[in-house]
Amino acid sequence: MGSTMKRGEMLSRVASALFWSSRYSERAEHTARVLRETFRYGQELAGLSAPAAMAIFEEAALLHDLKAYSSPEELLSQLVYDPYLPTSVLSCIAMSRENARSIRESVSSEMWQTINVLYHRLTNSNRTTANAAEIQSTLWELNEVFHQLHGLRDHTMSRGEAYQFIRLGRYIERADLTLRLLDHMFHHPALVLAEDEGLVIHTIHLSSTLRMCTSLEAFSRDYTHLTPESIAEFLVLSPESPRAVLFAFDEIEAALHSLSRSPREVFTTEAEQLVGRIVGELRFSSADELIEVGYHETSERLLGKLNHLTALIALTYFG
């Protein structure tokens, strides 16, 4: 029977669900990791400057639109477990699972089961009694499950269309999250608050930023000085670091060309044209330029392009 998956024959709805499941999974992983490092950083800062430490938690709450919390532990617990907070780790996992559920026949059983187990594990946790240590251990556990998911994806899925839509979702989300995180950390009020007390916290601040992107070790191998410029160079302009924005755009471009079966030298869709331009621009940019224009402006401009890119992909494939 001719039911075997041929190229260019995936249901548009399935393609869209794969894309979004992948984005939410990437977002859940990122959020869990950032929370883990935020908490650790906040505790570290508390010994130096109480106002700066407080700012770390307050900013995290603000980012998630969370108004009331009584302690850093409670804040963390809400950001991990709150099913009604759309940006909580649990909500992201639920969205990823819900998307995967609608296309269970298209992802490998192993992947589905892993995300399903994760979802039940989090919904069954008793978050009212969770203490800092428990939440930290949950976050580490999550970290491992996500690594497991990456392994399963790479070792159980053939590199057909389904894989490419997952790849697109993952790297679009990663570029988006990295750009936003750097913007947030480069202009963090904690830096100013510490300065008011005569403290320089740039080193721990920037190293925490790198940790949030699992990039501290890789960065330290290539750079000796922790500066916003060097971090921007590494996390935005590196074609080699898997966490970098340029690397992500490279992957997006490769996935798009794999879907359209066209060489990367030419474009056949508007999405390919746009991503080709972004890759070209980033390849020939320098970190000094990025910072000179103002990182915030650069980041905003790239995020705008990412949104446009998502819209073009939806138009081409999900219609």
Binding site: G2, S3, S12, R104, S109
Partner: protein, 477 residues
């Protein structure tokens, strides 16, 4: 000490006990395996089985205040065992039944001989809720209407397997047959020792063959899909499960489009022709142009594409008329009429309210009868006379009098029980059996089926919507 030590009969027959009340020879192996397990160990293993289902997502979803909750279909680890000899009888009976029902459907959608010969009252058929006038005179591939059938059987007081109802539209539950076996093999491998059990795994291959068989001859490499109402349907797990096993895609109405009487699915590479649809949505929702205009689950134009022979549907349209509970009462006559044979599987004797004297017959002895609506399923819209209050009985008397065409009544069968593991001990619980029958180039009956258990003490209702569970079913060689 085996858990069977304290187990005793509740109803006329228990599947695991012989007439004298000792463990039946078929169940001696299980009894021996249970001797090696303490109730506590069995409880732990049962919990592990529940987790097995939850993790695999073998669940149905209950929606409550827009929060989806995944529920595991309760699983009882004590398997139901059917001997090879008994199974042979059941299988022959089921084959006979599906042949006859299929001839019946062909007849009432064409010449209606059975009505003209006065074997069945005309009104009963033409007035049936699921009779589709739109489908009269339409040819279907190979004259097969019912490709997938699930027939519910119970064992009566005499020890005979009798038919409770046929499910000829889109019977569900087969995924649990396959998953229950997987769970048993993973969690209770020691139970299998000494038993020669027929496998059930081939179901999805057989179903795939059926779909391939009914494809339009013009399609040399036919594309089949499973049409599902979507992720909010309680049987959604089963849809993805079967599709995955068959290697076909699950589609929803919004993924399909009909152009010039050809059915297409919307893919990332444009439109792609579809040749066979295993549909898991009812006629009513299938095509808003023909049936319910407010349906958003279906595909406008799909019925005409089918009529033109450009796509095949399994099951066909209008099959629900033959599983109407009033028509059910006529199945023995239907078998005699078309096949000239005596039915091998008996019905439960049924009073049709719309027959002459039917209403009075039901009203007079309602406290002893089970009264059912003819077009309802899932244990809804029924009264179990002996378990009902006087006012419930009065209410049903009035309902039957008001709408005789909508009601039938059956005597209450004291159907068989089966040991089930409940609260640390074995307790007798009522069971039914739903075997699955496939009709393609030939008729195949899956050896086994879904054994459903009424888990609540004393309950006679096995439906999952009414607190029922299920267990693995072993047909021996």
């Amino acid at each position: 000490m085996s858990l069977f030590y304290n187990y005793s009969k509740l109803s006329a027959n228990d599947e695991a006990l012989s007439d004298g009340g000792e463990v039946h020879a078929l169940y001696e192996g299980i009894a021996t395996s249970l001797e090696k397990l303490s109730p506590k160990e069995l409880e732990t293993k049962k919990k592990a089985a529940d987790l097995f289902f939850l993790n695999r997502g073998t669940t149905f979803t209950v929606y409550n205040e827009d929060q989806g909750i995944d529920r595991v279909f309760p699983f009882d680890p004590i398997p139901r065992i059917i001997s090879g000899t008994e199974w042979e009888k059941i299988e022959f009976g089921l084959r006979q039944r599906i042949f006859a029902l299929n001839l019946f459907l062909k007849d009432i959608y064409h010449d209606q001989r059975i009505l003209r010969d006065g074997v069945i009252p005309v009104d009963l058929i033409l007035g049936a809720k699921h009779f589709r006038r739109e489908w009269v005179g339409v040819e279907v591939p190979h004259d097969i209407y019912v490709h997938i059938c699930g027939t519910d059987l119970i064992r009566d007081e005499n020890g005979d397997m009798v038919v409770l109802e046929d499910n000829l539209r889109s019977p569900s539950g087969v995924s649990y047959v396959l998953e229950n076996r997987e769970a048993m093999k993973s969690m209770f491998p020691e139970f299998f020792e000494g038993y020669d059990i027929r496998p059930v795994q081939e179901y999805s291959y057989l179903l795939r063959e059926v779909l391939e068989f009914i494809a339009p001859p013009s399609a040399d490499d036919p594309v089949a899909v499973l049409l599902s109402p979507g992720v909010y349907n309680s049987a959604y797990f089963e849809h993805t499960f079967l599709a995955k096993q068959m290697g076909i895609r699950v589609v929803e109405g919004r993924d399909l489009v009909v152009d010039d009487d050809i059915l297409y699915m919307k893919t990332t590479g444009g439109l792609r022709k579809v040749d066979v649809v295993y549909r898991r949505i009812d006629d009513d929702f299938l095509d808003p142009l023909i049936f319910r205009p407010d349906s958003v689950l279906g595909v406008p134009g799909i019925v005409n594409a089918y009529r033109r022979g450009n796509v095949a549907l399994a099951n066909s349209i209008g099959t629900g008329v033959a599983d109407d509970k009033a028509v059910y009462a006529y199945v023995p006559k239907i078998i005699r009429y078309y096949l000239g044979e005596e039915p091998l599987l008996q019905n439960v004797p049924t009073i049709i309210a719309s027959d002459p004297g039917g209403v009075t017959a039901i009203q007079d002895q309602i406290e002893n009868l089970v009264v059912k609506r003819v077009d309802e399923a899932g244990g809804y819209g029924m009264l179990i006379g002996p378990h009902s209050t006087r006012s419930e009985q009065e209410e049903f008397k009035a309902r039957v009098a008001a709408e005789p065409r909508c009601y039938i009544a059956q005597r209450m069968v004291d159907f068989s029980t089966h040991p089930s593991f409940i609260d640390g001990s074995l307790q007798p619980r009522r069971v039914d059996l739903r075997p699955y029958i496939l009709f393609g180039s030939e008729v195949k009956v899956l050896p086994g089926g879904l054994t459903r258990v009424a888990l609540r003490e004393g309950s006679m209702v096995v439906n999952s919507s009414q607190g029922g569970g299920s267990k693995d079913t072993w047909v021996l060689r």
